[in-house]
């Protein structure tokens, strides 16, 4: 599925309609093997964020970066990044998807 600007790739169960951030093999709600790619709006609320200053070896080249957990308006939580490290710190702040980098959603304050 080609990426639409501002949308996040998730999974939708074609049997029961449940959404999940994925990746997953079977639907966590009804256990059907019927999950297919879906795109939902990248708009949501900032649940929390942190700045990783000691990255694991695989991310060392990036230096410090901000990881965020966002509750999308579609009702699911995703773990991604914030594009700025000084997010302002206010939990519940509105965010939108800035870009999708290697499958990781990058959010910015709306």
């Amino acid at each position: 599925m080609s990426a639409r600007a501002g949308f996040v790739d998730v999974l939708k169960c074609s049997a029961c309609g449940a959404l999940d951030a994925g990746p997953r093999e079977i639907c966590p709600a009804c256990h059907a093997s019927a999950l297919s790619p879906e795109q939902v709006s990248g708009a949501g609320a900032l649940l929390s964020w942190t700045v990783i200053r000691r990255p694991p070896a695989a991310f060392r080249a990036e230096g410090a970066y901000a990881v965020a957990v966002v509750e999308l308006d579609a009702g699911i939580k995703v773990t991604g990044r914030l594009d700025a490290m000084d997010a302002g710190g206010r939990l519940g702040a509105r965010v939108v998807l800035a870009e999708n980098r290697n499958g990781v959603p990058i959010f910015r304050l709306a």
């Binding site: 942190t50 200053r53 694991p56 773990t79 990044r81």
Partner: protein, 387 residues
């Protein structure tokens, strides 16, 4: 199911064991536990070994069999168990099950980890094997980062402050100074903690447990075989294991772990006890914020009050509920696979009344070992026989 007792304990120092391998540490602890229990090697019917990252950091697996061979045990079943930082607690539970079910009359539990020979980046990368690396891992999240996320929510919901969180660190580091096995006991000030390096905001250096080497071991036997043991046998009232979500998205919020809440509920029920009966707890304080969340999830401190109780001195030795009199992971150290077994070691010393940081009249002790992003948990409750 038969009643089970602990008759033997052993441990290495937790810290940096330069030039020593996993096998050497495991054998030292296991030999000490066998001697303490006064059992012959022929009596040990099963071995369970907790280890997490010997594969990535030392290139060595099949440790359970290697350790049994070194110890000169019989051709018994030897099983390595892995549940990230809960590996040691899970190993203990399986040994308890092997004995309580009648599969054998005595079993040996060993937990071991060797980490300090690797670089910080390698250790962080290896520990990240405990995440669901299809979901949270690709973001570059780390475990300090997970508790940084939790901290902001705890602060927002309950008004928890930097200095209240520091009270946990100051208490555990001071407890560690009294524990001869501890790696990093210290007398710390609020200022020193506040000025330490940022690791994963708001987590700073002193909020994190150190990287450690170490091993611990326990001998469990059928209770009717415990009579005549050289040292006081300690009853196992409950040894419970649960799972939680491997992913942040699967947790209702990030300031409580379902695996702990459920394990505590099952353990209290199995033991016929409630939180007020617990005289001390050794819980999984891999980070300062983890102790706060754990103490609330275990029902030992009211929800939201974990940091405030520490600040008021209610969780130190002599307080309402002494938490981590050993110094915990923050001060004693966190050789990951050994940690859960090390907590039981500390609890047994307390119940025998011979701990270097003794809780007065300790009769009932709890241990809590948590793995990954809350994916695996064990809770055990131990009792002095006359308590």
């Amino acid at each position: 199911m038969r009643d089970v007792a602990i008759t033997g304990i052993g441990s290495t120092l937790f810290g940096k064991h330069e030039g020593r391998g996993l096998e050497s540490l495991a054998v030292e602890a296991a030999n000490a536990a066998l001697r303490n229990a006064g059992v012959s090697r022929k009596e040990i019917g099963a071995l369970y070994l907790g280890n997490f990252i010997a594969g990535p950091l030392s290139g060595q697996e099949v440790l359970a069999g290697i350790v049994a061979d070194e110890l000169g045990l019989e051709n018994i079943p030897c099983t390595k168990v892995e549940g990230a930082c809960a590996s040691g607690g899970i190993a203990f539970r399986h040994a308890v099950l092997a004995v309580s079910s009648g599969q054998c009359d005595a079993a040996l539990v060993v937990g071991v980890e060797k980490m300090t020979h690797a670089s910080g980046g390698q250790v962080t990368q290896a520990l990240n094997c405990a995440m669901d690396n299809r979901s949270d891992g690709p973001s570059g999240l780390t475990f300090p980062g997970l508790f940084g996320l939790a901290w902001r929510i705890h602060a927002e919901k309950y008004g928890t402050t930097r200095d209240e969180v520091s009270s946990v660190v100051i208490k555990n580091k001071a407890n560690g100074l009294k524990n001869p096995l501890a790696q990093l006991g210290a007398e710390l000030s609020f200022d020193t903690i506040r000025q330490s390096q940022s690791i994963a905001d708001p987590i700073q250096l002193y909020d994190c447990c150190p990287v450690s080497d170490g091993a611990a071991a326990i001998v469990v036997v059928a209770k009717d075989r415990a009579k005549g043991a050289p040292d006081l046998p300690i009853d196992v009232l409950a040894s419970v294991q649960t799972r939680g979500s491997p992913r942040i998205a699967g947790h209702r919020d990030i300031v409580s772990f379902d695996a702990t809440v459920k394990a505590a509920e099952f353990a209290y029920r199995a033991a016929g006890l409630s939180p007020k009966d617990i005289d001390l707890v050794e819980l999984h304080d891999c980070f300062s914020m983890a102790e706060i969340i754990d103490s609330e999830d275990l029902g030992l401190v009211p929800r939201g009050m974990g940091a405030k109780w520490a600040a008021e001195g209610r969780t130190r030795v002599g307080g309402d509920i002494p938490i981590n009199p050993s110094g915990g992971l923050l001060a004693k150290g966190h050789p990951v696979g050994a940690t859960g077994v090390g907590q039981l070691y500390e609890a047994v010393l307390q119940l025998r009344g011979i701990h270097a940081n003794q809780v007065k009249d300790a009769g009932i002790a709890m241990t809590h070992n948590l793995g990954g992003s809350g994916i695996a948990c064990t809770v055990s409750i131990l009792k002095r026989p006359d308590a």
